[in-house]
């Protein structure tokens, strides 16, 4: 990175550290922090969408739909979700390959499960056998997003369902008295107002989502845990930057990163809560209306 980095072994301490922290592997480490943030940025809206659909299914008057919603929410919430995080990517991967296999190679005569192997024909393999590394990474990442969205969608569905119930009944009755249909009342009355009731629950789910991101490591993705473990490990004199076991300091760094992330989002949610309480028929909304500090 810096011009003086050609031979680190003769450098004074601060320059040595400057070179270490800007070498190629460390830059990959920093990029992994970006991956965590990208995962959060993609998963949160997807999970919220899943949650909204789940909540609508729970409210549905058509019983197969409401049973489907109830089954989804209860199964996901009843099982330890670490099981889900490891189960969904493998099961989904095998499921997709199985479907592709049925389409691409209908005349394949061997069984797919041969002993301990899962074998599909070459055309059905996803990602294709000779695809570049970034495509494999993207596929693994997408699988992770699906697993996270499934689990957190169920949490969000439960919260949003509760929030929809919490909107005062009188308002919905008023809307119906004005001749609105059920769908119109939902769109105009419930949907805009439910967020203030959902916010504490959603904030909680967001915090849990943040704390779930290191589990990417278990899915074989080179995330911050992987890099901290790798970079912190003891480096012998064969390496350009030899140092003893520094994993403790690298993990301390991760700990601080997560503390910052949860702290910042806690404050952000508090502000959002004040913003949403404006004009609401709640204690906080009433306090804002009277002109007091929220």
């Amino acid at each position: 990175m810096f011009s003086f980095c050609t031979d680190p072994s003769i450098l004074p301490d601060w320059q040595w550290f400057a070179c270490l922290f800007t070498n190629a592997t460390h830059l990959q480490f920093y990029r992994a922090f970006g991956v965590v943030l990208v995962l959060l940025a993609i998963t949160a809206p997807v999970a919220l969408g899943m949650g909204l659909m789940g909540a609508l299914a729970l409210r549905s008057r058509i019983w197969p739909v409401s049973w489907l919603g109830r089954g989804y929410v209860n199964i996901v919430r009843g099982v330890p979700d670490i099981v889900f995080f490891l189960f969904v990517p493998i099961a989904l991967g095998q499921g997709i390959e199985w479907v592709m296999h049925q389409i691409q190679c209908p005349d394949w005569d061997q069984p797919i499960r041969q002993g301990n192997d899962f074998i599909v024909c070459r055309e059905a393999r996803i990602p294709p056998p000779n695809s570049p590394v970034w495509m494999r990474d993207a596929y693994a990442f997408a699988m992770a997003v699906v697993a996270y969205a499934l689990v957190f969608g169920a949490f969000a569905a439960n919260t949003l369902h509760g929030a929809m119930q919490a909107v005062p009944k009188a308002q919905i009755e008023t809307a119906e008295a004005y001749g609105m249909t059920r769908a119109q009342a939902f769109r105009r009355i419930i949907l805009p107002q439910m967020w203030v009731y959902a916010l504490p629950g959603l904030s909680n789910i967001w915090q849990i989502l943040i704390k779930a991101t290191p589990l990417l490591f278990l899915l074989g993705i080179q995330d911050i845990v992987y890099w901290a473990n790798f970079l912190g490990g003891e480096k012998t004199s064969l390496f350009t930057f030899p140092h003893p076991d520094w994993r403790m300091w690298y993990f301390l760094g991760l700990l601080v990163f997560y503390l910052l992330l949860t702290w910042v989002s806690e404050r952000a949610f508090a502000r959002l809560g004040d913003r949403l309480s404006r004009g609401q028929a709640t204690a906080a909304g009433e306090r804002i209306r009277k002109g007091a500090a929220p």
Binding site: G78, I82, D117, V225, N229, F251, L255
Partner: protein, 283 residues
């Protein structure tokens, strides 16, 4: 192929170590369904060990930390708040990694702590095992989460109860033991039940992180993962481990429900706190 009875004999206590069953775990095509059932069940021994000890120790520590957090003196309150913030604000998974890599750095021979009349030798090599080091992390973690619950309960003890205690001339530790502590427990108990469940479920993380499984003796989820790696079939081992955990969860709900009845027995029925299952596992 082994019969089910043979699998039972070989693997039901295998999680305790080599001396208690087969030398090696079943591999590849040799794996039968009964192997999965019994080996994963044997792993539950460690889940119960971690959960029971962490809850048992963490409970008392949490009471102390909650009282410290509730204290009016900043010198006592600040460290307690900081402790709770650090352990609740960061992922348990990272905490395992951090503490393991810190424990590894301690000198192998043990640390001598001179106490004047006697010198205490702390066995540091035990700290790098999951059974001790992992347990310490779990204890610290559940202490922080439970302390936050207990702190919330302390804040919402009815004013009348405290005034009644004063009127009866109760003060100091007697007041705490007879009024504050029981009320706090009663108010916190439904959410504390959930905390116990989450903690039990997060014992699955112990061997998934840095702590090594010596002699391949791990907890249930470690074995489930082992089977999935061996057979590349997630459709048996994971549902099995999930089933065991649902069973364990039901047992916890039952046990804590009995305690909840005892804590609420003096109240009329409609004022009793009801338990609601609100699982949010990851921490």
């Amino acid at each position: 192929m082994r019969s089910c009875a043979e699998s039972f004999e070989l693997y039901i206590l295998r999680a305790l170590g080599r001396e208690f069953g087969a030398n090696l775990l079943p591999r590849g095509l040799d794996i039968t369904l009964c192997d999965k059932i019994f080996l994963i069940a044997s792993g539950m021994i460690w889940n119960i060990y971690f959960a029971a000890l962490a809850i048992g120790i963490g409970f008392w520590l949490a009471v102390v930390v909650a009282l410290a957090r509730f204290s009016e003196r900043a010198v006592i309150r600040r460290p307690a708040s900081a402790f709770i913030f650090v352990f609740r604000g960061s992922p348990l998974f990272i905490q395992f990694f951090f503490f393991y890599s810190a424990f590894v750095l301690l000198p192998r021979s043990g640390i001598d702590i001179p106490l004047g009349f006697i010198t205490l030798t702390v066995n540091t090599s035990a700290l790098t095992t999951a059974q001790v080091g992992g347990l310490i992390v779990l204890v610290l973690n559940t202490t922080a989460y439970s302390a936050e619950l207990f702190h919330g309960a302390l804040r919402s003890i009815p004013k009348g109860d405290l005034e009644a205690a004063d009127a009866y001339g109760l003060a100091g530790f007697t007041k705490f033991r007879r009024v504050v502590f029981p009320s706090m427990l009663r108010l916190a108990w439904p959410s504390y039940t959930n905390e116990a469940i989450f903690l039990t479920h997060s014992t699955t993380l112990v061997f998934l992180s840095a702590f090594p499984a010596r002699q391949q003796s791990g907890e249930a989820f470690y074995y489930a993962r082992y089977f999935v790696d061996q057979t590349f079939n997630p459709f048996v081992a994971y549902p099995l481990v999930a089933g065991y955990f649902i069973l364990l969860t039901l047992i916890i709900i039952g046990l804590f429900g009995i305690m909840n009845r005892i804590l609420n027995r003096h109240l009329p029925k409609e004022r009793r706190a009801r338990y609601r299952f609100r699982p949010q596992y990851l921490r």
